[in-house]
Symmetry: C2
Subunit: 644 residues, 2 copies
């Protein structure tokens, strides 16, 4: 949570500090120049009041441009300062959380071993892993858990769980029907055909009980088969202390580097079992294939988005579909259409993508769910920045440009100069739409609330079902973060060109912060805690936005024929240096556990058995309540074998 | 040693296997084509028999070029196969050496800690380091040694050692003069002024004794001051086992990454004490500054080298200095000049560079001497490949090209096509000269032998002096390896264009292998053992040569208007993939110690005290024979403080 709140804090900080200086200084500077009348004759009519307040209104070569240049420096330095402070802060928070003396986190005691070589003759996989790690870590090795292929067993387990749920529900209905007037009650029934709509009618409680009795032994057999025969080339290894696990996770184990590769273990609920068996070079191959696929996706989506943005400006619509002219010229409709038409198409369009990116990221072979989300989020960020921000700016410009260029090819530069502020209007409304629609509907949880009450009234019968219905799910970092980052990019990039966008940004992030804070504390249940691992990701992307901003401004000052443009070069170099220094100083701690943090002793000696059990997937534990002889069954070796 | 021998083995293997196929196939294919008469009319006269055997003799678009294309594939696959085998072999050798159960290597028990934060109030540096590591590694921490600034103490120690040597020498002379005829002997004398040439004459034995008595207490005082007041922000930390040290060296210690940075400790005699205090970001800054300096050096040397190569072709000399014409036209002189004139300038020129590169590499802040040598060697490789190989090829061509281009600009392509084989002659003689001059003089150790005998007769008087005179020094990896790599590059790049170069390469590396084997076993004393750490370096450079070769050939086939050139693209991609896979599979083990290797127990428990003492520089040990209370004095804390 702290990362997300921290992001909102720092973005708010950047925007407020920038706005305090930029708004009172740049707006008068821009408004009192009279470029709008003399130079922008090619696009008169579309120039509204907003553009008078932007940098587009300032004459070329004007000394007033110095104010905008200095404003850029101010925004950059504010960003550096706040980013630095935030990185230090989050790094400290992460250290505090990880060195906590109260909370036992199973993942701090385990490492994940992949690419284990084939089992030697006459040994089991478990023997192999145990003897290997016992030799290397004789004093700190606790035991190991060989990863198995759980596909079959999960399927059967899910079936069983489904029947159990339905049984509970049927019993609840039956219990409710036993009113005082009718003490014997009405036994619920159901049809056994497709979706319970066709087929023979049976007594639900009896039917589900029979089904459970039928599936349970099947599950037990499959569990045994899984444990014994479906062992993979991967294992979890547990240590007796946090510092031993942290050191082991960072050390090279085998002298052939692609064997016995170790990493820190993810949280139990984050572990993606099906990805663990993928081999070293296959992982890398998959990664590159996914990167190429994503790059292709980004490039091919560019075309339709650019096209839509270009088509759906009102002027173009009128030209292309003349029969609309009469309708569109009504003032009210015109305003609405002008503001929301191009953006709506875009927003609907964007909703399709995140799921695909999640699947692609998972296919890379990443072992942890949160890492998959980070990877997908990164891809999504590049997608939306490239397509939405750059695509719209260039696409919207190109369409009207092509025709003009044919007539007088030397006018490209002046067209670009006037089109950048024009797109400011587009993005201003985009930001506004985002916080009205986005926050208004999604984050007020109106929709889930209605669904919850409907479910409660008509569907949910047991306590467990009620709980599940209310479970609000995760905060959806995967799409939320890149979405926010897009707003950051847009607001930053236009902060100097059209400073009026800053208050919109402040409102967006202010509201976001309030709602998020409220929800994070009261409603949302985080699916996992990654202790700020998201932060370096966000930091990099805010910095990338800043660099994009500086480069854009470099080009824009050039278009304005400002001779002192080279003064921006040191700023870009400074940004790159800042990013490098930050990643060198802080990043590795977000990847590896620092020993000085891991070495704090826990208040009580941790229950190693419990830590071990936390990693057993529910489908593999013999009963809901763990039975005592479980660990022997799982490992297929005597218990003494894995103890030191 | 094994790395160097291995390099020669594999290069020999590549050349022999390539030669066996290329020579019998390509030479007839090239010689029986008649391109030489029809197309190369612009440069007739300089075409000798050699060029008839090269690819330049094959007609453009000829289907015979298929043979050359397939030859390129053959050479590449031979190289992949041998490189892969060699990397595996060296990796195994390194593992064997590091897991040896007999030899105790101090560096396997120590780690180097840099960037220690300022000492907190009321603690000594030693306390700070000890308590930090004792908390993290309570069971395996042995003790620590704080790094000091030894500049002053080294100076005094060297002065003292000088006097001791001179005293020993004077005593030896005195003892020799006591012949049976003159039992009292003649006491040697010397002058105390500049270089012993002027000033008062004194009795040497008395004088040096007095000097030693004068300097010894000065040294003792300085030693105390150094230990107490000249402590730096760096330390060596010793562990009780190899596996503990290996794991600690690879683990992040502080959560602010640029504090308490750890690396594996270099061998004691390799440690560069003066570099240890340099801070994290300063090291990186220094590195980039050095890279820029080296890049500038490479680029600015390019101009004179290209100029010299262009000037010193015989034809150009005749044109520029017409008065030489009569002399030069004598057949014998012409042959000699033609062959050796341009190369001699180049070889002398190259002799200047290695020292500068060593200094620059040391200035990067690298803590280990062998690492400095590797770094310098890498820079030197890029220098000579860029300047000698590419510089000469392009430079030699450009000079004659400029004039022709002015007349008919479309002839550039045909000139390039004919000039590549022309340069083959240059490089053929370059390789020949290298092995005659290089091996003949340098490696036969004729010069050192003469110097040794002269010294023995006239200068050396004591045993120690004799030993020092014979001490042949290191093998000079820094310049030897890049020199060899240049030959590899040249021979590889011309192996298909002019296969006749292959036997020369075979002779060069065959002779080199014999001499090196002989010397390495009998004469040279390695200054340090890095257990194959040089290999990844050599591997990368052989592979870089191969890629340069493939790219060059890609261009050359294009010049020959061969339509199937794109068939070379998969080969280049394959080379890049091969390099990537090798570095992923093997490289990390050459940087970090694998725990499975470090965990082998030693035959006898190691003497930790002795390991610790191995790192005390001679200038800081109180006597030549270590005194017992030394460790307390060095650390300024009671001995019990550093034990666990």
């Amino acid at each position: 949570m702290s990362v997300c709140a921290c992001t909102y804090n720092i973005v708010l900080g950047i925007l407020v500090l920038s706005g305090l200086v930029l708004l009172p200084v740049l707006l008068p500077v821009a408004a009192t120049d009279d470029n709008g009348k003399s130079a922008a004759t090619t696009s008169n009519g579309t120039f509204s009041d907003l553009e008078k307040l932007s940098m587009g209104n300032v004459k070329s070569k004007s000394p007033r441009l110095w104010a905008f240049l200095l404003a850029l420096y101010w925004v950059s330095f504010v960003t550096y300062y706040l980013l630095w402070k935030a990185y230090k802060h989050v790094s400290g928070l992460r250290a505090d959380a990880l060195m906590s003396r109260e909370v036992v986190r199973p993942e701090q005691f385990a490492i994940l071993v992949r690419d284990i070589p084939p089992v030697p003759e006459g040994q089991t996989r478990k023997d192999q892993v145990d003897s290997y790690f016992k030799t290397i870590h004789p004093e700190t090795f606790y035991r190991s858990m060989v990863v198995t292929n759980n596909k079959e067993v999960n399927k059967i387990w899910k079936e069983l769980e489904g029947y159990k749920k339905k049984l509970a529900r049927a019993e609840a209905i039956y219990a409710k029907s036993k009113t005082t007037g009718k003490p014997e009650g009405a036994r619920p029934t159901n049809k056994i055909g497709f979706l319970g709509l066709i087929g023979k009618k049976v007594d639900s409680i009896e039917y589900y009980n029979a089904k459970i009795n039928e599936v349970t032994p099947k599950l037990e057999v499959e569990q045994k088969v899984t444990r014994k025969e479906k062992q993979q080339n991967s294992a979890l290894v547990f240590f007796t202390s946090r510092v031993a696990a942290a050191a082991a996770a960072q050390s090279l184990h085998a002298h052939i580097v692609d064997k016995w590769t170790v990493t820190d273990a993810p949280e139990p609920r984050q572990l993606i079992w099906s990805n663990l068996k993928i081999k070293f070079f296959q992982r890398q191959l998959r990664q590159y294939v996914v990167y190429v696929l994503v790059a292709l996706t980004i490039l091919f989506y560019m075309i339709p988005i650019g096209f839509i943005a270009a088509l759906t400006t009102l002027d173009n619509l009128k030209k292309l579909l003349p029969f609309l002219k009469s309708t569109v010229n009504i003032a009210a409709i015109k305003t609405v259409m002008e503001a929301y038409l191009p953006q709506l198409a875009l927003i609907i369009f964007l909703a399709l993508l995140p799921k695909i990116l999640m699947c692609l990221s998972k296919a890379e072979g990443i072992p942890s769910q949160s890492h998959v989300v980070r990877a997908a989020s990164g891809k999504y960020f590049y997608f939306i920045v490239l397509n939405v921000f750059i695509g719209v700016t260039i696409g919207g410009t190109l369409f009207s440009t092509f025709k003009t260029i044919q007539k007088k090819p030397d006018s490209i530069v002046s067209i670009l100069a006037s089109s950048l502020p024009l797109n400011a209007t587009f993005f201003l409304t985009f930001v506004a739409l985002k916080f009205f629609v986005g926050y208004g509907l999604q984050l007020s949880r109106l929709v889930p609330l209605i669904i919850y009450h409907l479910k409660r009234k008509y569907i949910c019968k047991t306590e467990a079902e009620l709980k599940e219905a209310w479970f609000p799910g995760d905060l959806g970092y995967g799409t939320r973060v890149p979405g926010d980052m897009l707003i950051v990019t847009i607001v930053l990039c236009y902060s100097v060109i059209a400073p009026i966008i800053i208050p919109f940004g402040v409102v967006y992030f202010g509201l976001g912060w309030l709602i998020l804070r409220n929800q994070a504390l009261k409603v949302h249940v985080p699916a996992y805690e990654s202790y700020g691992r998201m932060w370096p990701h966000i930091h990099t992307r805010i910095l990338a936005s800043l660099i994009l901003y500086q480069v854009t401004m470099f080009g824009y000052f050039g278009v304005k024929k400002f001779y002192y443009v080279p003064f921006l070069l040191p700023l870009i170099i400074l940004s790159l240096t800042f990013g490098y220094v930050c990643s060198q100083k802080f990043y590795r701690f977000f990847r590896d556990a620092a020993l000085e943090v891991a070495c704090r002793e826990l208040k009580e000696a941790p229950n190693l058995e419990q830590i071990f059990r936390a990693y057993i997937p529910p489908s593999l534990s013999s009963e809901k309540i763990d039975d005592e002889d479980f660990q022997d069954a799982l490992s297929q070796v005597s218990r003494s074998g894995s103890f030191v």
